[in-house]
Subunit: 367 residues, 2 copies
């Protein structure tokens, strides 16, 4: 029988880099900064019904002043609209407007807008330049670093998506000033996560500056964002496709995603679910004798001090436990946890007994 | 004012490779061959309403014999279903079945099935292993090499998509034997394209073997597929993201896509549109004094000899001309053409005068 094999070689992709610019008043420079990394006659901008009334006009003006024809799409605000239907609507706007491969796509908003617009940028004409303009602390320190883009599915959060790295991230911390305090707190959940898994001195910095952070004091906020972005950037640079160390960033998220899933992404914000998830994971680490109670208490105290929830009496423990197995990081039906060993260090742990996991969840129902 | 920039480094991606195995009777070995590149407890397989009745049972049996739990999804056959709605339905099946990052996704069918299943593989849980089992000559020599996956949009063909390289391609040429002759002819359109842009001896090979090819004689067919795959593989290896030489593969496609677009993807098959597109491009090259009439005649004669159309009296020249500007390869509103200089070589040409383009299209309406 005649049979033959042809080998297709895929060449190496060279290293690359992008900048995350952090400061107050950067939105006014958006046009010039985008033009420097993605010159084109046209650009797309996606925002949501919360952010657009505040900043879309300024952003559009800056882009037009730099010579762009600006195509806008405003999505309804909220995680529940982070789905394939919204992606499809955004694609309709930009594909009908005849965007080309050089057309940059700008995300102006929080994590949901960034994920949606980034997924559109990843898939429109097989990939166009992507610029992130996070307008929340959470998206600045988390979603805007690392190139994860996508949408939720009925079967779970972020189950549809891609890796599409931005060309530029612009975090104008002046935009955080108009956020409800609850949004700043949610961003702090991810900052505390970074501190616990990687940088003990960041935990001190946050603890020492809670009022200045909540007041969005410019120097403190710039510093906070820069420190967190640097931590996440270092981890992502080591492991861009989440095959190893990047998984540490899931600290609090295996529990947190399950909690959000059971609540159908309403009631609790993502950062609040992560705060509860970190507490559950911390208690699991303690129960497994991998962590000490002093560090755990310090973490819980800081979570409380910034105004994040530390308990959820109405949590449905059984349903949440079941939902943990739907996370896309589950391999072979086995849960994997990120568990701290001390403030500033954490490990991936497998083969955790189910009763210990369930008990860690159950502690959240006790005040 | 405080402002700072953090640089995110993206490490190089190492070179990789995958095999395209070509021969008769490979479908029976599918399970073992998939297991060698993507071991997992579960796999997904996508086929369409034409191919599933013929080969899905054999494929599933082979996969189950190799220990896979097989999740199937059958899409309606035809380019008109290559859209985001079908992608969404396929994602629903596999995400609800709790696929994981190691779950391989197998495309069993022609180019449409490969593009759809590949896009699902690119975006489900941010990317899972992808295996192509092309059951048509066209998809074996074209779509299964190069990693282009995606779906059509109302605004144009392939406007939604990604680059997602397969782990393995298995071209069982025995499956081509059940194809209507029209499908073999459509595959030959892409083979003639490869010959014209890159390999004059392939044109001779096809011309010398038309009856054996149309009869799917195993040695001749294996040889034909291997030669074409090798040409496309070499081009893709040079330029995986279509920044330079890969654009040569669009010979006949700027015209062809516009013809398909105006016909709303019905009536003409893709290969037939490409055949017409190559003739239009060839005549454009001749009019611009870039090609000679002897080579052009040889190409047109071979297109006719394999039974592909060489004219389309009812073509709407104005509408088709307008549709050319919606192609995603258009940059800055400017058309780019791949024009042969001799059999075996072609060049990218810009700034072609509109009247010459329109006249090249108009020649197709004359018998």
């Amino acid at each position: 029988m005649t049979a033959t094999t042809i080998t297709v070689s895929l060449p190496a992709v060279p290293p690359a880099a992008y900048g995350i610019r952090i400061g107050a008043g950067l939105l006014e420079q958006l046009g010039a900064l985008v033009r420097a990394v993605a010159p084109a006659p046209t650009c797309g901008i996606v925002s949501d019904t919360n952010v657009a009334p505040l900043y879309l006009a300024i952003a559009t003006q800056a882009l037009e002043a730099a010579g762009y024809r600006v195509i806008q799409h405003i999505v309804p605000a909220g995680e529940k609209f982070k789905n394939l239907q919204t992606v499809s609507a955004v694609l309709d706007t930009f594909l009908s407007a005849r965007i080309e491969r050089a057309t940059p796509m700008i995300a102006l908003g929080g994590g949901v807008v960034g994920d949606l617009a980034g997924f559109v940028a990843a898939t429109a004409v097989r990939g166009i330049p992507f610029i992130q303009v996070p307008t929340t602390l959470l998206s600045a320190v988390d979603a805007s670093v690392g190139g994860k883009v996508g949408a939720d599915h009925a079967a779970g959060k972020n189950l549809i998506g891609a890796f599409h790295q931005p060309r530029l991230v612009l975090a104008d911390i002046a935009t955080f000033g108009t956020l409800p305090a609850r949004e700043i707190r949610c961003g702090l959940a991810e900052c505390i996560k970074h501190a616990v898994i990687r940088d003990a001195s960041l935990l001190d910095f946050i603890a020492d500056n809670v009022p200045a952070i909540l007041a969005c004091q410019p120097e403190t906020m710039t510093s906070l964002v820069a420190r967190n972005v640097a931590i996440k950037a270092a981890i992502v640079a080591e492991d861009p496709f989440e095959r190893a160390v990047r998984a540490l960033l899931n600290f609090g998220h295996t529990f947190g995603h399950a909690i959000e899933n059971v609540l159908e992404y309403s009631g609790l914000q993502h950062g609040e679910a992560v705060a509860l998830g970190m507490i559950a994971a911390g208690r699991l680490a303690l129960a497994l004798k991998r962590w000490n109670d002093k560090d755990l208490e310090r973490m819980i105290e800081l979570i409380a001090a910034v105004g994040l929830p530390t308990a959820m009496p109405q949590l449905d423990v059984d349903k949440t436990f079941a939902a943990m197995f739907t996370d896309k990081k589950v391999r072979g039906g086995k849960l994997r946890f990120v568990l701290p060993t001390r403030i500033g260090n954490a490990e991936i742990v497998e083969n955790v007994p189910d009763p210990a996991v369930r008990e860690a969840l159950a502690t959240l129902t006790r005040a």
